[in-house]
Symmetry: C2
Subunit: 143 residues, 2 copies
Amino acid sequence: MQVKRTEQLFNSCSEEQLLKEIAPGKNRSIYIIGHMIAYHDAMNEILGTGKRSYSQLDAAFMHNPDRTGFDMPSVAELKQYWNDVHEQLSNAFEAMHQDDWFKRHNNMTDEDFAKEPARNKLSVLLNRTNHVAYHLGQLRLLK
Amino acid sequence: MQVKRTEQLFNSCSEEQLLKEIAPGKNRSIYIIGHMIAYHDAMNEILGTGKRSYSQLDAAFMHNPDRTGFDMPSVAELKQYWNDVHEQLSNAFEAMHQDDWFKRHNNMTDEDFAKEPARNKLSVLLNRTNHVAYHLGQLRLLK
């Protein structure tokens, strides 16, 4: 639901709007969109659902702030990556058994997971969903 | 986690910041905070955990946009309401049995719930948590 809402919002924006800051001196929408793609692509390795496809986005969208000079794909390319990443995750989630969500994710060691069993794959999904909502609230300011 | 993060953020802001718009022409922080209090207070009746305590906030924070002339409490009063509402909900959640989360909430009829059993009390909690994250993303622009 959060991903769909975000997609509807940015698809209703002009390219010019997506290249604008969401508020004076803050991130541009294109940065926020690329940031979510990079985060969601990285979920594959954390959840064990596959390899990453877009690690080339990390420099521009995850490890550095907006407007620090790193190469960014075009808005059209990012929209394609957005669709690919979410279609792939959606298929991977469909293929998971419900018990899998309560298992250890790959950023936790067995020892840490034994101490904190609530930090399972489902917690990754819930955190990432809140992360989408957080940035959707910011993107909404474009309208 | 989302409620705590929001609380830490607004407690680190001056009253002047909380009375400012989060971006030009957008809601003020005080409106967003009052809005979350009113929504969370209303969860009690939806989840069956008690009566509402702050329905007087609905006109200013839920049913009308910001700056439409409805009386608002002071920032100090809102912070007190925030603490009360979340302490009460937290106690109510502690007292719930885990199976209760999969039961019908009070905004669903038995007929609707039979058709859509995933729209249970847990879905209300998840939606409200995303709603906090959405507005937290906006409040973060104050910093």
